[in-house]
């Protein structure tokens, strides 16, 4: 082991530039990966926020007594699927419409809006089927004029999330493959460049394991260094983007970041293991 570590040091001293470039290449690959991962988790996060606003709105007939409404709100709050119920009076509905619609505020100069009950659903019940079922149940109250729950909107939301997930996974995998190819190539070139040396080591009695170990350690160390560098770069990019966009994006959790570095190390190790194994049989 001590011998193997010395071999790694020798490898670095022998070609410091090449080693540094190897680490940078790994870092850039993981950085690209991280950037896309960040975009993906931010899209997911944004979607979750939008999604949490999925609501069912029951418009209430004009002359309904307030007690009936309060009772209904209490009942609906007990539904296991419901996260939150709210009564919106006609006045506050108008105020909110003005606020939310911004540019179109002038439209409501003289408008009158009906009161409504707004229902938010729990995370697990936001799929189109559940929403439809609950809407039907709410619609059965006699004083409810109309139930709206944006059938299209819910469906579209899910479609976007699916697409985002697919695109994220596909791009992520593509970049992972690129990273493996680059790491593998780096090590393969190192092995090729040292083919003569390896041949000599064999001729004086070095076992395959002895010859392989320094390359594996090399790949591992480079993977770890590359992982940390990529983490730094990603963090930098993310905070630059935050500053540019003016709001706080989500960053990886510590555990996930550690997983990323470990993943880098494993990629480095795997890349070198495959490469070295294949090359050694030839040299």
């Amino acid at each position: 082991m001590r011998l193997a570590l010395r071999e790694v040091l020798l490898a670095v001293r022998r070609a410091p530039l090449l080693s540094a470039l190897g680490v940078i290449t790994i870092a850039f690959s993981l950085f690209a990966f991280g950037l896309f991962g960040l975009v993906a988790i931010n899209i997911r996060d944004a979607l979750r926020q939008v999604e949490s606003r999925v609501e069912i709105r029951a418009f209430i007939a004009d002359a309904t007594p307030i007690e009936a409404i309060v009772t209904a709100v209490g009942d609906i709050g007990e539904f296991p699927e419901v996260a939150h119920v709210d009564y919106v009076s006609p006045d506050s509905a108008l105020a909110r419409a003005r606020r939310e619609l911004g540019e179109f505020a002038d439209v409501f100069e003289a408008g009158v809006l009906p009161g409504s009950i707004e229902i938010r659903l729990k995370q697990d019940f936001r799929d189109p089927r559940s929403v439809k079922m609950i809407a039907a149940r709410v619609g059965s109250y006699s004083f409810v004029d109309d139930v709206r729950y944006g059938e299209d909107w819910v469906a579209k939301l899910y479609q976007i999330r699916t697409i985002a997930t697919i695109v994220g996974v596909v791009l992520g995998l593509a970049f992972a493959i690129v990273a493996v190819i680059i790491i593998g190539t780096t090590i393969r070139m190192a092995v090729l460049a040292r083919a003569r040396e390896i041949g000599i080591m064999r001729l004086v009695g070095a076992t395959d394991a002895f010859v392989r170990l320094p390359f594996l350690i090399d790949g591992f160390v480079k993977g770890v260094l590359g992982g940390f560098l990529a983490l730094g770069l990603t963090w930098l990019a993310s905070s630059l983007i935050d500053r540019a966009l003016g709001f706080q994006t989500v960053f990886f959790s510590t555990g996930f970041a550690a997983l990323g570095v470990l993943g880098g190390a494993l990629i480095g190790l795997a890349g070198s293991a495959i490469s070295v194994g294949r090359q050694l049989r030839r040299v």
């Binding site: 022998r14 000599i200 080591m201 001729l203 004086v204 009695g205 070095a206 076992t207």
Partner: protein
Amino acid sequence: MIRLTHVTKEYARTGRALDDVSLHVAKGEFVFLTGPSGSGKSTLLKLIFMEERPTLGEVRVSGINSATLHRGDVAQLRRKLGVVFQDFRLLDDRTAHANVAFALEVTGAAEPSVPAKVSRLLMQVGLASKGLAYPQELSGGEQQRVAIARALVNDPFVLIADEPTGNLDDRATRGVFQLLREINAAGTAVVMATHNLELLRRSEYRTIDMLHGRIVSDTADPSAAERAAARIVEDDETARFPGDAGPKGQTSAAARSRTTA
């Protein structure tokens, strides 16, 4: 110890380098291998340390058989052999000292003992002051002597030396030869390919003379010469092996030198 039985080595592009060679080297023997350039000396040695495998026949070295060889066996075998390569094969990125030490380290030798042993060997080949130089910083003869030191460092039971004095002056040659005799006296078998006829003439060791991939004379087995001569005349017409070393059937240089000496 070392036994080749009806070994033929055929290369795809250059044809037959060894042709039905049988040979036995006993424990502690000293054997010279001679013959013109391209006659198969290096190929024979490569078969002994298992850098090449025979096309036909079988090579046995200290219980390891070329036919039933595992990858791991080769490393084990080579740790017990010492090899001086014709083209030295030093590690370019290590000093002379580190090159010699490396051969000891792969055998798992106790680390504290390594430097002293390496230094002693470098001194014996006359390179005490060049231990910290890299191969490119050494003269041809100095590199050759590093290669010799490396071959001797792990106390091999067989030493294989391919033209170990080609780049050495007379005095260094005699020094190296003396070293080989000493380790041979201590029980190590030595197989040495050489073009240095003076060495052959001066010593009384067994000498094997090769030509066109065949053993044409063996001082330990005088009948080999006649057999070989008969064979060569016999397939002179059909032999496809290039005649770089002169007209077929001619007695080789070493054989002649012994005749005239």
